[in-house]
């Protein structure tokens, strides 16, 4: 059902109820229509429409040349995408789960991220890598990794991660138009968890900009992807205890929106970071550093992190113990507020 909604400049834009997966599908469809250079490739993305149906129906409309089922070979997918990209195409590669991206790690690390530098911008790889990630959907082992930090320590590639349908579509389109490679992490847990009004046409969400999801005065809570939803639940509880929380949805993980963090923490003077990746080496550390660099004199308590533990993501019988919960987040919030 299409409804009408006021857009950013108060112009009326048509919108439609979409889940995140539909919004992603819609974004790819629009871009395939608009830009002949776009080519979508990956395992099971053609006839099958992707194991999550992200590419459903696209091969039917755009043909086997533009929506390509590849062999089971992640290094092959990324490696040939590099060749396609330096030779004028704009590949959008799907890696079936982030936990299966590692065979392509060398191609991403030594080529995708470095070709522009190595060739003084003579060769560039405007490509997108889409990868579902995260735990909490009772998937078999290895399917649930949240290893964004392995890609933010790799100058030359951007990393984005939406928590909702609107951002998912807007970030994906921005990624497809970016002159540089972008890794698009898609939180499986939110693929179908809610529907919202999403503009039917083309729009972008700027890469590099976070969003204040909710304003507050006592503490800043920073999260992205599936954790935004969990934080929202925690914040309801915290606010019922009289703590006013500001929530930042980071949206871009590289380059991080330092200003939004700095401004918010300078205001609230306390921060809690929530991510499902491991504690050690997680992006939370980068954010603490940003706070150290920009809000040291404002800070009234050590920054608190509520994260996945320093253990491999457990098999699913115990995965919920690995993931941050509203209860753990509330404890974190109380800890910084009552420091």
């Amino acid at each position: 059902m299409t409804t009408q909604l006021k857009g950013p400049n108060h112009k009326i834009v048509a919108t439609k109820q979409m889940t995140m997966i539909q919004a992603i599908n819609d974004g790819m469809k629009l871009m395939l229509e608009e830009d002949d250079r776009i080519i979508i490739l990956g395992e099971d993305i053609g006839k099958n429409g992707g194991v999550f149906r992200a590419t459903e129906g696209l091969q039917e409309v755009f043909g086997e040349d533009r929506v390509v089922d590849t062999p089971l070979s992640e290094a092959g997918i990324i490696g040939t995408s590099i060749g396609l990209a330096v030779n004028g195409f704009r590949p959008v590669a799907e890696i079936q789960f982030l936990g299966f991206i590692y065979p392509a790690y060398e191609q991403i690390m030594t080529h995708v991220s470095r070709i522009r530098m190595r060739s003084r911008s003579h060769f560039t790889v405007p490509m997108v890598i889409r990868a579902p990630y995260g735990a909490g959907i009772r998937a078999p082992e290895i399917h649930s990794d949240s290893t964004e930090a392995l890609f933010t320590h790799m100058p030359g590639i951007k990393v984005v991660c939406a928590s909702n349908p609107y951002d998912a579509k807007g970030l994906l389109i921005a990624a497809m138009e970016d002159p540089d490679p972008v890794l698009v992490l898609e939180t499986m847990k939110n693929y179908r968890s809610k529907r919202e009004e999403v503009p039917v046409g083309k729009y972008t969400v700027e890469i590099g900009k976070g969003k204040i999801v909710k304003e507050g005065t006592d503490v800043t809570i920073i999260a992205w992807g599936a954790m935004v939803t969990v934080v929202e639940k925690a914040v309801e509880q915290a606010e019922s205890k009289g703590i006013s929380c500001e929530i930042i949805d980071l949206r871009t993980l590289y380059p991080i929106d330092r200003d939004i963090i700095a401004k918010s923490v300078q205001k609230t003077t306390r921060a809690v970071i929530v991510h499902e990746a491991h504690h050690t080496g997680g992006l939370g550390n980068d954010i603490i550093s940003i706070i150290n660099d920009t809000a040291f004199l404002y800070l009234r308590a050590p920054v608190e992190r509520v994260t996945g533990f320093d253990v491999p993501v457990p098999f699913y019988a115990l995965e919920n113990h690995y993931l941050p919960t509203p209860a753990r987040i509330v404890e974190g919030i109380e800890k910084v507020v009552h420091f």
Binding site: E43, G46, N48, S73, P103, F309, V311, P314, F315, E319
Partner: protein, 351 residues
């Protein structure tokens, strides 16, 4: 290339010999072993699908149609041998001696499902495709270094041949001439991708040429062909002659997993003509006087009891404890991890 790698068969679709080379090695014990294990694992497999539908098991990867490949090969293993399975090879692991309760537990997201019975060298199922091939090569290398006659077998699918690890595993095995069998179950599809889109080669067996390694192509639905050709490869390996690549041409009757819908990508009638491996063995048994109605009834009943018991055990299995996620990361828990554990347990206590 198909001409160079004809499909080896011992019995045809109607259960009659087409190749009598091994006729005198086929006796009642072997026939019954094959039949019993195939019935047993099929029942296990169907039960798993049912449990999944009832919400009593997580996503499951069925192997119906591949029983001859899995049982025929796994029956060849001796006690010191090593088995490196994928997520779809419980038929093989159960035949080799894996614990059924634990096989079900694996699909309930329990690490207990990865622990083999004492003395059984069964590795946890490989989920990242093709990664187990170099492992099998390494384990076989260790056996060679120790001077044993043990052999390792790695199971993998048609799709797995596209990964670099397939290539690297086979190359190392051929260079160091280690006793490992690369047992490919070519079931026609890698999720939705048919073999013609997976590779340009007409066969998987011919990929052995790249390593000057013996490669053979067998009818994976003919349990005798599987058994005897695998046995030849094992004997070859035990005698110090190195690895073999076996392509067992078979068919995945069901979905890729219980989360998959093959009608999206697979023509409805495709595969109908491939005779069921169990049915084929039944025909053979009837043709050659091995059919023993009473025994069949008995093992079917026993199997049902065994499986029901395993399911019950699985469901009564002690609930997983939180400590588990912390306790097996390192031999000695680092201080920071111990702190994380302690503080999480305290948190749970407070709730």
């Amino acid at each position: 290339m198909e001409r160079n790698y004809p499909i080896k068969r011992i019995i045809d679709d109607t259960g009659f010999f087409v190749d009598t080379t091994f006729e005198n090695q086929i006796d009642e014990k072997l026939v019954k072993d094959l039949y019993y294990n195939m019935i047993r694992i099929r029942t296990f497999d169907r039960k798993a699908i049912n449990l999944q539908r009832q919400g009593r098991l997580g996503t499951y990867a069925p192997f119906e149609g591949q029983e001859a490949s899995q049982v025929g090969s796994a029956l060849v293993l001796k006690s010191g041998d090593w088995l490196f399975p994928t997520y779809r090879d419980h038929g093989a692991t159960l035949t080799f001696g894996a614990d059924m309760t634990r096989a079900y537990l694996y699909w309930n997201g329990r690490t207990e499902g990865c622990v083999p019975p004492k003395g059984k060298n069964i590795f946890p199922p490989a989920v990242p495709i093709a990664t187990q091939l170099p492992h099998a090569t390494g384990a076989a290398w260790a056996e060679k270094r120790r001077g044993t006659q043990n052999v390792a077998i790695a199971y993998f699918g048609d799709g797995a041949t596209s990964e670099g690890d397939f290539h690297e595993g086979l190359n190392f095995a051929s260079v160091f001439k280690v006793p490992v069998i690369f047992f490919n179950q070519n079931n026609g599809y890698a999720i939705s991708v048919p073999i013609e889109k997976q590779m340009n080669s007409a066969t998987i067996a011919q990929k052995s040429v790249a390593y000057d390694m013996p490669g053979i192509r067998i009818d994976g639905n003919d349990c005798f062909a599987v058994y005897f050709e695998t046995k030849k490869a094992f004997d070859f390996a035990r005698s110090g002659n190195g690895p073999t690549l076996i392509e067992a041409v078979t068919w995945r009757k069901g979905a890729h997993t219980t989360a998959d819908d093959p009608s999206k990508y697979r023509p409805e009638k495709q595969g109908n003509d491939s005779v069921d491996p169990l049915l084929r063995l039944e025909l053979f048994m009837k043709n050659y006087g091995y059919w023993d109605e009473e025994w069949i009834q008995r093992i079917k009943e026993e199997t049902i009891i065994e499986i029901d018991t395993a399911v019950e055990e699985m469901e009564r299995f002690p609930a997983p404890i939180v400590d588990d996620i912390f306790d097996n990361v390192f031999a000695v828990m680092p201080a920071q991890l111990a702190e994380q554990k302690e503080s999480y347990l305290a948190h749970l206590g407070r709730q």
